[in-house]
Every structure is written in structure tokens, then in C-alpha cells.
Amino acid sequence: MTPTTTPEARTAGSRHPPWTPVDRDRARRRWLSAALVTPALLVAGFVVIGGIVMSVVQSLGLVPLVGDPQLSLDAYRATAGELVTGIGLSLSIATVSTALSCVIGLTAAVIITQGRVTGRIVAGLSAITIPIPHLVGAASVGLLLSDAGILPRMLGISSGDWPDIVGGAWWVAVVFEYTWKESAFVALVVAGVLASRVAQYDETAALLGASRAQRLRHVVIPLARPAVIICAMIIFVYTLGSYEVAALLGRPYPEPLPVLAFRLFDSITLTSRPEAAAVAVVTTLISLVAVGAGMALLRRTPLWA
């Protein structure tokens, strides 16, 4: 080998200092990438990490409105009873809404990807649902399902005979609103995945003699599964931590976690801020566990690259 080597050969040998053009370009690109990612990272990191850390700190009594900071679990102890009912209620609402949304959304996605006129109508109607704010959805569901709502009028049922759907014991209107909005979300995401990936596999399976049911069971659903799991994770966390729908369509007691946290946060009692923070911390923990479970499920899915 001659003493005058090319830049490529020099970078390959580790003896040489890293100021070759290639190295400099790579370092420059790394800096540029870091600079590009930093603003978004700062905002997201500040809100997420700051939000969690400050909630934990406040819930432990370290940032009282008056008096000296003192480490204690009083906030958790004071809300223990409401916290337990809130956890049960929020978990039930989130689980039922998520499951129903995924089933209805997946069905809609399959109908949409059939590519006929019916599919296009369903696609259009579900797409219209997407930009409707949840709060507006809740207001509208209230007008539809309350005892003076449109549905009892249409069906000719008097308000006395109409069941307590809005503000009733079973939180039907709340679950209905979440399922309505989120099934459209599932349909949109899953139909996108199916449209881009499933058509060829589906045709191949059909040519190889698979029946419709077999294709649905062995081709369509496995291909849609990663997308459905991701959607389920997002929906579960959203419905667990969402305030306005449960506040508008639910009943005053028992309260789901976000409603409980809101009431404590707005309360004039001095000890209630740490209690609101304690509810927030518990909600965050459940969300993180749900996301962790979802990721574990996703990793066990064969199609997740």
C-alpha cells in the first residue's frame, strides 16, 4: 500500500484523527439532526416529563399552596375511597369503549376495503365523524339519547318509559359517545392499512381456494392486528383520561378519575390540590401500564417489524 491513501482508506483505519471530509460531514449531519429534533423534543419532553414529575411532587405534599413542604401520603389517604371507585369505573368505561370501538371499527374497515358503493358510503360517513370534537359529540349524543331526545321521539316512547341512558347507572351514553367517535378512528386507520397491504394477500388466498371466512380469519384479521392494537392503546388511554364526555353525559356520583381530579382541582379547600395531583398520578400509572401491555402485545405480533 502506498503512503498516500485515499480519504476512504484513512477513515477505515482508526489510527488517523477524525478530520477527514467524510467524518466531518457525518458529524455535521449528526449535529444538524440533533438541532432539527431538539425543538419538538423540548416541548414534548417538558410537558410529559414535567407534567408527571410535578404531579408526583405535588401529590406528595411538596408544593403546598400555604405552609411548609412536607413529604407525606396524606393526599392518597384522603382520597383512597373515591380513588378506588374511580379506578373501577374509569377502567370499566375505557375497557368497554375500547373493545366495542375495535370490533365496530374493524367491521367497518373490512366493509370499506371491499371497494363497492356500500364501502364508499361507510368510508365517507366515518370520515365525517373524525373531525367532530368529542365535546360536540357528547352534546349531540345528549340530544339524541336523553329522555326528551330524538330517539324516544322517533320511536314514540314516552319519557317515563325511556331508560336512563344519559346520566344512568350504567354510563351507556358515555360509552356510546366514545364508541361512536373511536370506531370511526379505528375504521380510518385499519382501512388504510388493509388497503395498502391486504389486497394482494387476499386475492392470493382466494385463488388458492380459501373461503371468505377463512380469508377473514387467516389473512385480513392477522394483517390488521398491529394497527388494531395501536388503536386500542390510544383509545384506552384517551377514554381513561378524558373529562368532558363523562362530565356531560355521566352522573354526579360515582365519579371517573378525570372528573374526580377536576372537582378536587377546582375546589377551594387548601388540601385539595395535592389530592387532585394524587388522582392524576394514579391515572398516569394506569395509562403507562396500559401502554406497556399494548407494546408487549405488539411485540408478540408476528407482523410487527
Binding site: 449531519r29 449528526r30 444538524l32 439532526s33 429534533v37 425543538p39 419538538a40 423534543l41 414534548a44 410537558v47 410529559v48 414535567g50 408527571i52 410535578m54 404531579s55 367491521t107 367497518a108 366493509i111 371491499q114 358510503i121 361507510v122 360517513l125 365525517i128 365523524t129 373524525i130 373531525p131 367532530i132 370534537p133 365535546l135 360536540v136 359529540g137 352534546a139 349531540s140 340530544l143 339524541l144 330524538i150 321521539r153 322517533m154 314516552s158 361512536w180 382466494a206 385463488l207 381456494g209 392503546m233 388511554v237 381513561l240 383520561g241 373529562y243 368532558e244 356531560l248 378525570p258 381530579a261 377536576f262 382541582f265 392524576a280 398520578v281 391515572t283 398516569t284 395509562s287 403507562l288
Partner: protein, 303 residues
């Protein structure tokens, strides 16, 4: 064995033979089931919007009547007296501000992540997606203390929190856009002597414009439809459209006002969605004669 088809002979199977073939056999039962499911799904997605459309134009609608007993626009009038117009303006500005900030932030981060030169990429994309996993009220309740003590104005706090909530959507949308983006166009423009700024404005941004439009739409939606962050941070001082909707929906006897406010909260994003569907498509570069990706051309020509 190759099958010879004589010129002019019909090779599409006729009705008698298709009946025996699995793929082309008509299935009246399957078809009916599919149509019934499609109708049920259409009702499911459309039904909750119906009360808004009816109540919007109802002056009076006493209970058992299946349709409004008096039609009119008193709901709109009462919405205006409640301050619907300035609230509409505030929501619009809030949505636009969030979109204008969150879209470039998301696009920059997505570009860096797609190029694969970011340190600790998994951690970085995890943090960028994390606002999806954190309930908004937790972030607000945690950070109000910090933001208040730092004397950050309420409106700025609302914008920071909303931008953070929008970042997962913009980053994800732009990552999808950049994954399909062909960097070779930019390299070719640079080779042909265009400056970096020129490449950004004349090549890079036009190519990812549809992705930017989708990302901006989602970010706008976050700002436009937010209730929790505005009400918790602003304490009711920043009155946006969702606050008015919540206020009148919590009361009794003003269904027409609720309907008018709700419809005016749905229309702008719906119009944007339609515009997005109409103009947000990728420019059909590959259909132009003699064009095509520089990458594919160089692959053909030089390798």
C-alpha cells in the same frame, strides 16, 4: 402447458361455466349480509349528528313530536348573543397558532428521524409520541404551578400544552410523508447548482406539501377542539367555542343553541377535511412524460 386461444375467440367464461368456479360464483346471501352491515354502520356513524341538524333550525319542539313544531333560527340568534362569533374567532386563531407551531416542529423532527442520524432514535421518538399516552389533565395539573410561578401568561401556557399534544400527530404524519419522500430530488437539485435555501423552497417543501397539509390539519384539530387545557389553564377567561358548547350543553332548555354552536364547531374542520381530500393529494410526478424519480433513473442509467 401454454394454452392457445384462437384469434377472436371469447375467453371470458360465460354464465354457465362461471357458476362452477368459486371466485366468480354470485353469492346473494353474502351480498345481502354485506349490504345490511353497511346500512347498519351508516346509521351508526350518521345518527348522532341528526339531532344537531334538526335542532339547529327548530324554534320550538315540544316532546312527543317527531319533528320540530316550529321552524326558525332563534337558536342562531341566541348563540350570537352568547358571544359565539368572538369565541369562533378565538378558536380559529388558537387552532391556527397550534398548527403553525406544531407542523414545522414535527416536520423537522420527522426529517431528522427518517434520515437516521439522530442519537438514541428510539428514546427520541418515544418522547415525541409520549403526549398521546399522558392524559391532558395530568400535564395541566402538574405544570400549572410551574407556569404560574414562572409568570408565563395563560394564553402562552395553553399554546405550549396544545403544541405538545399536537406533536405526536405531526411527527407521525411527517414520518410517513418522509418515508415516501425521495431525497434524490434534492441531491439532484444541489448537483445542478441550487443553493440550500433554493432546494428547500423549490424542491423539498413542494414535494412534502401534502404531508404538511395533513399534519397541519391534525394540529389545527387539536387546538380547535380542545376543552380541558383551555378551561384548566385559562380558568374560564379564554372563552373558545368548545367552552360555549360545554356551558350551554350543561344547561337545560337551550337545545337549539347547543345545536347551532355544535354545528359551527364541526363546519370549519369538515371544510378543511374536504379541501384536504380535494387538493391534498401528491402531485402525480410519475405521470409526466420523461420524468420519474432521479433515483430510479440513476438506477437504470448508471448502475
Amino acid at each position: 402447458m401454454p394454452m392457445m386461444v384462437p384469434y377472436g375467440q371469447r375467453i371470458t367464461p360465460d354464465d354457465r361455466t362461471t357458476g362452477a368456479r368459486g371466485l366468480m360464483r354470485p353469492r346473494p346471501v353474502d351480498r345481502t349480509v354485506r349490504i345490511v352491515i353497511a346500512v347498519l354502520l351508516s346509521v351508526w356513524f350518521a345518527l348522532p349528528v341528526v339531532p344537531l341538524l334538526l335542532w339547529m333550525v327548530a324554534d320550538r319542539w315540544s316532546f312527543p313530536a317527531p319533528l320540530p313544531t316550529e321552524w326558525g333560527f332563534s337558536g342562531a340568534a341566541s348563540a350570537v348573543t352568547q358571544g359565539a362569533v368572538p369565541a369562533f374567532g378565538r378558536s380559529l386563531v388558537l387552532g391556527l397558532v397550534v398548527a403553525v407551531i406544531a407542523t414545522p416542529l414535527g416536520a423537522m423532527a420527522a426529517r431528522a428521524l427518517t434520515k437516521g442520524s439522530v442519537p438514541a432514535p428510539r428514546l427520541v421518538s418515544g418522547i415525541l409520541l409520549a403526549p398521546l399516552a399522558l392524559p391532558a389533565f395530568v400535564a395541566v395539573m402538574g405544570l400549572t404551578v410551574v407556569l404560574l410561578r414562572a409568570r408565563v401568561p395563560g394564553l402562552v401556557s395553553v399554546v405550549i400544552l396544545l403544541v405538545a399534544a399536537a406533536i405526536p400527530y405531526t411527527v407521525y404524519t411527517m414520518r410517513v410523508a418522509y418515508a415516501a419522500h425521495d431525497m434524490a430530488y434534492e441531491e439532484e437539485a444541489r448537483t445542478l447548482g441550487a443553493s440550500r435555501r433554493h432546494v428547500l423552497w423549490r424542491v423539498h417543501l413542494p414535494l412534502v406539501a401534502p404531508g404538511l397539509a395533513r399534519a397541519a390539519f391534525l394540529a389545527f384539530l387539536v387546538g380547535w377542539s380542545d376543552y380541558v387545557i383551555t378551561v384548566l389553564v385559562g380558568g374560564g377567561t379564554i372563552v373558545t367555542l368548545p367552552l360555549l358548547v360545554a356551558g350551554s350543553a350543561a344547561g337545560v332548555g337551550n337545545s337549539a343553541t347547543v345545536a347551532v354552536l355544535s354545528i359551527s364547531a364541526i363546519l370549519p374542520p369538515l371544510l378543511l377535511l374536504l379541501l384536504l381530500g380535494r387538493f391534498g393529494r401528491r402531485y402525480p410526478v410519475s405521470n409526466l412524460p420523461g420524468s420519474g424519480s432521479p433515483r430510479s433513473r440513476s438506477a437504470k442509467g448508471f448502475q
